[in-house]
């Protein structure tokens, strides 16, 4: 795992507190899910190093993230969508895959060139997805062009990634880095690994013939709007500088159920980022030698990234447009009076005055 950082004592203390709180919060959730159905599946379009592809995105229900069972990340509610008992058998996981193929067959004219598999945990962790299942899934999608599988850095190696590369797929590992700033990742997100681990994973992926797509989280709890924006700009640039990391997906935090973020939100202590902040980061890092995309979930709602309510859809469209074309001029096309409010918030909001505007 990670090497101790200078603030390891404080980090340990903070991690214990975060985990204890998150366990309590998650325990309030008593819903369970059918292990033979995926958490979610949808079709979309995605920008890749080889151009724009039709994509089939699968959120596989694997019993969820092992880290989340210890408590886990302060903003992540996906564990709440996991199955009871904790692990899902090979047959059930394959039934979920079949469910997704059926969905694709019903809703798309042709098979998707890009398959994306997330587990809200680590697809490459064999305690979550057995090696047998991993190989069977690689086999299932061997006729496609590209595949993305989600994993924490710990599980990225020649053997796990190799299954997909050997099947002839252009393979990317999606790593939930959240931020390149270790302090923010530890203290605000409560994710335990370091940026150095991410760099090692990128190297391991490259050695196995794969690439890495870094997932960043804009505005975890406890950061002001301007700190969140600066954290993302710095993170995109640091990711761009890592060999093997060719794409960054920079996503604004939203308020998910049974999370610490939801506790803060409920008491008036958290506001998801402004869509202007997302646009600002995309625009200012457009020159970087990396694809940067963003997929704001729940845009325009109180629980999702939002502006004033008037311009949310327009700014969201510009962001999606940027995702496909990587052209920062799309943001010149949108403006709204609420930019002045956002400006004032950037200048004035501090971690002790969160949030300064709704």
């Amino acid at each position: 795992m990670s090497t101790p950082s200078p603030d390891v004592y404080e980090q340990g203390k903070g991690m214990d507190a975060h985990n204890a709180v998150m366990r309590d919060i998650r325990a309030r959730n008593d819903s369970t899910y059918d292990p033979r159905e995926p958490t979610r599946v949808w079709l979309d379009e995605d920008n890749t190093p080889d151009g724009v592809y039709q994509s089939l995105t699968i959120i596989l229900n694997t019993g969820g993230c092992r880290w989340a069972r210890a408590g886990g990340c302060t903003m992540c509610g996906y564990v709440a969508e996991s199955v009871e008992g904790g692990s899902v058998a090979h047959e059930d996981l394959m039934a979920q895959i079949q469910h997704c193929l059926d969905h694709e067959a019903e809703n798309a004219d042709e098979p998707s060139g890009l398959i994306k598999i997330y587990t809200s945990g680590s697809f490459l962790d064999e305690r979550e997805v057995p090696a047998e299942t991993r190989r069977a899934i690689a086999e299932t999608f061997a006729d496609r062009d590209r595949i993305v599988v989600e994993s924490l850095p710990d599980f990225v190696d020649r053997e796990t990634v190799g299954d997909f590369v050997d099947a002839g797929l252009e393979t990317d590992v999606a790593v939930g880095l959240e931020t390149a700033t270790d302090r923010v990742r530890h203290d605000c997100v409560n994710k335990y690994f370091d940026f150095a681990d991410f760099e090692d994973a990128c190297e391991a992926a490259r050695d196995a013939g794969a690439g890495v797509k870094a997932y960043l989280l804009m505005k975890p709890p406890f950061l002001s709007e301007s700190e969140a924006v600066e954290d993302m700009k710095r993170s995109v640039r640091r990711c761009a500088a890592v060999d093997g990391c060719h794409t960054v997906s920079m996503n604004p935090c939203n308020v998910q159920r049974y999370t610490m973020v939801e506790e803060l939100y409920h008491d008036g202590g958290y506001r998801p980022p402004w869509l202007w902040s997302v646009a600002e980061v995309l625009e200012s890092t457009a020159e970087e030698d990396v694809i940067v995309v963003s997929d704001p979930v729940g845009h325009g709602s109180d629980r999702g990234p939002h502006n004033c309510g008037e311009c949310d859809d327009r700014v969201q469209r510009a962001i999606k447009d940027f995702d496909l074309r990587q052209d920062p001029s799309v943001f010149e096309q949108v403006s709204c009076e609420c930019e002045a409010t956002w400006d004032a918030v950037l200048t004035r909001e501090r971690s002790y005055s969160l949030p300064l505007a709704r």
């Binding site: 950061l223 610490m260 609420c338 004035r348």
Partner: protein, 595 residues
């Protein structure tokens, strides 16, 4: 330990203070970042050294021109207590003006000049959370630490914020609301587009309406906030913020809820409310009944005061608008009928009952209520309860109720009933008609008059009970002689040594050192301030104090004692404030003996 903040005046939890920076700032103040471009009259004195959530921080340099917010971790509203505990920041000891960021659950003394209460925006609109947060932080930090509440103040709420104990606010919310097209006044947050004329005359509002945009709106909002703070400072100086807040807070329900919730935190407000004030007290709403001054008077009259005249008939009379009552036309007429043959106690909303000996004592001489002749159920309930408790502790041979109409008479009948006592009613239509006054005089026919000496002695002793505690009247003034003419009375012992004077303006006693020595030697708990071995002349400053009684309130007479001096003076701080403060005038000395 603060070198850079000092409280000069107190009006309940509100304070008038001073940030002693290179350029002094009077608080409550509107402060902003040193490099802020906020329009209007903000003090640009705040320098944020940054959040540990985002990055590691170097120790800031700081200087006397600014308040440096030491590197911190802010905890927004809703942060679980475990997380606050685990991420608590150790603040360094610095020798420049500094602020520490605190949260209600984890607030403690960080030896800073300013406490920054994190999470404020989460409390807007939530009275109980706000009151809990502010009172928790105030109780956990030294009294001479300024409280900064970031991101909350508006023209409408700032009076209530200051009333709760906030010393520093910023223009951030007013600015943000302006950018949103909200035009803020002390009564509303108007949609700018709904205003066909601007209800303000500040410089920004000189712009013609059609040209007035959101940038102007920002400027107006900050102007309106700054102006309201000027008003609030004036009110605190005058000791009249509560009167203003009772009306102003009506403009937003959560503000009304906030000051009512504060009234429920009686201990918090009581410790901070002065015993006496120069200013009048306006009792214009039901909420006035809950004021500390009112509750305290009722409590002391029923628990400390001894009815020394209860060997004679009691005459209950209605209060008068003019104060003291004995100066009023109506009370002069009652007096002409009574002629010192009975004990006179005035019934009044909102004070309850005022025995004649305490008619000068704050707030009996200082309140002014709205009289319409119609009493509310709460007024009747309050005055009934006070009267009942008063009579339970007394032993009058006869009770004459010289009162009329709704309210007074209802209360008397209710209490006659509950105590099983017979009241004689002497008013036929109105208390000052010849018939009524004749009835009153007739009822007292044949009773003897008590002498002036008895009346003066009882006055001194009653005020002593009220002021120093139960039994003080007898313990401190057992061999009593009075001099001077009421209301300018002096208390002396049998040998002519002066012990105290009655301060006409407040109706309390000002002790001499001889009087103070009697207090110390008596069984009545002494309100004492222990000082270092020096001889204080003029005033005692907080750093010279080694200990102070918890129950000292602003305006109390206190004994000041140390190895070098024994004296008496008037408290300018509460006892707890003396204990925790490192700056400021604690006692104004009146008399001191070297020893």
């Amino acid at each position: 330990m603060t070198d850079y903040f000092e409280v000069h005046e107190r009006d309940s939890a509100a304070r008038l203070g001073e940030l002693r920076l290179a350029e002094s700032v009077t608080t409550p103040a509107l402060i902003d970042d040193v490099d802020a471009d906020t329009p209007g009259a903000c003090h640009r004195v705040l320098d944020d050294a940054g959040s540990y959530w985002a990055a590691e921080r170097d120790d800031p340099a700081g200087d006397e021109s600014r308040i440096t917010v030491l590197p911190h971790r802010g905890f927004p509203a809703g942060t679980p207590e475990e997380v606050e505990g685990a991420f608590a920041v150790d603040y360094p000891d610095v020798d420049f003006p500094s602020a520490a960021v605190v949260s209600p659950d984890a607030a403690t003394d960080h030896s800073c000049d300013v406490s920054v209460l994190a999470g404020g925006p989460g409390y807007v609109g939530h009275a109980s959370a706000f009151v809990d947060a502010v009172t928790a932080v105030k109780e956990a930090t030294p009294a001479d630490t300024a409280l900064y509440l970031p991101g909350v103040a508006t023209p409408r709420n700032v009076a209530t914020l200051v009333y709760a104990g906030v010393d520093l606010v910023d223009p951030h919310r007013a600015v943000v609301r302006g950018t949103e097209g909200r035009y803020l006044t002390t009564d509303e947050a108007y949609f700018l587009e709904d205003l066909d004329e601007l209800p303000c005359a500040c410089p920004a509002c000189q712009t013609p309406r059609e040209a007035f945009d959101r940038t102007d709106c920002v400027e107006h909002n900050v102007n309106a906030l700054a102006a309201e703070l000027r008003r609030v400072r004036r009110r605190v100086r005058d000791g009249r913020l509560r009167d203003y807040v009772e009306g102003q807070a009506r403009q937003d329900n959560w503000l009304t809820a906030t000051f009512r919730r504060l009234d429920q935190q009686y201990g918090y407000l009581e410790a901070r409310t002065p015993l006496i004030r120069r200013a009048d007290l306006s009792a214009a709403s039901e909420d006035s009944l809950r004021r500390v001054e009112i509750q305290r008077f009722a409590e002391r009259v029923t628990e400390r005061y001894v009815p020394r005249f209860d060997d004679r008939p009691l005459v209950l009379v209605p209060c008068s608008a003019r104060k003291p009552y004995s100066d009023s036309q109506s009370h002069k007429q009652y007096h002409d009928a009574i002629k010192w043959r009975a004990h006179v106690v005035s019934m009044t909303s909102p004070i309850g009952v005022v025995p004649q000996e305490l008619e000068l004592t704050y707030p009996a001489q200082h309140y002014d209520s709205v009289v319409t002749g119609r009493w509310t159920a709460n007024e009747i309930e309050f005055v009934s309860r006070v009267l009942e408790r008063y009579l339970e502790a007394a032993d009058y041979p006869e009770i004459i109720a010289h009162v009329s109409g709704e309210g007074y008479r209802d209360i008397c009948e209710r209490i006659a009933d509950s105590l099983g006592r017979e009241f004689t009613y002497t008013v036929t239509d109105h208390p000052t008609t010849a018939d009524s006054l004749g009835n009153l005089a007739a009822e007292l026919e044949g009773r003897d008059r008590y002498p002036k000496r008895e009346r003066e002695h009882n006055t001194i002793r009653a005020v002593a009970d009220y002021q120093f505690g139960a039994g003080a009247g007898d313990e401190l003034f057992d061999d009593l002689a009075t001099a001077g003419r009421y209301p300018q009375l002096r208390a002396e012992d049998g040998e002519g040594t002066q012990l105290a004077t009655l301060a006409q303006q407040y109706g309390v006693l000002s002790l001499t050192t001889a009087g103070a020595r009697r207090w110390v030697e008596s069984d009545v708990p002494t309100k004492a301030v222990d000082i270092e071995p020096f001889v204080p002349h003029g005033s005692v400053l907080a750093p010279g104090i080694t200990d102070a009684s918890d129950d000292i309130r602003v305006g109390d007479d206190v004994v000041v004692r140390g190895d070098a001096a024994f004296g008496v003076g008037r408290a300018e701080m509460s006892g707890p404030e003396m204990q925790s403060s490192t700056r400021g005038i604690a006692v104004q000395m009146r008399h001191v003996d070297e020893r």
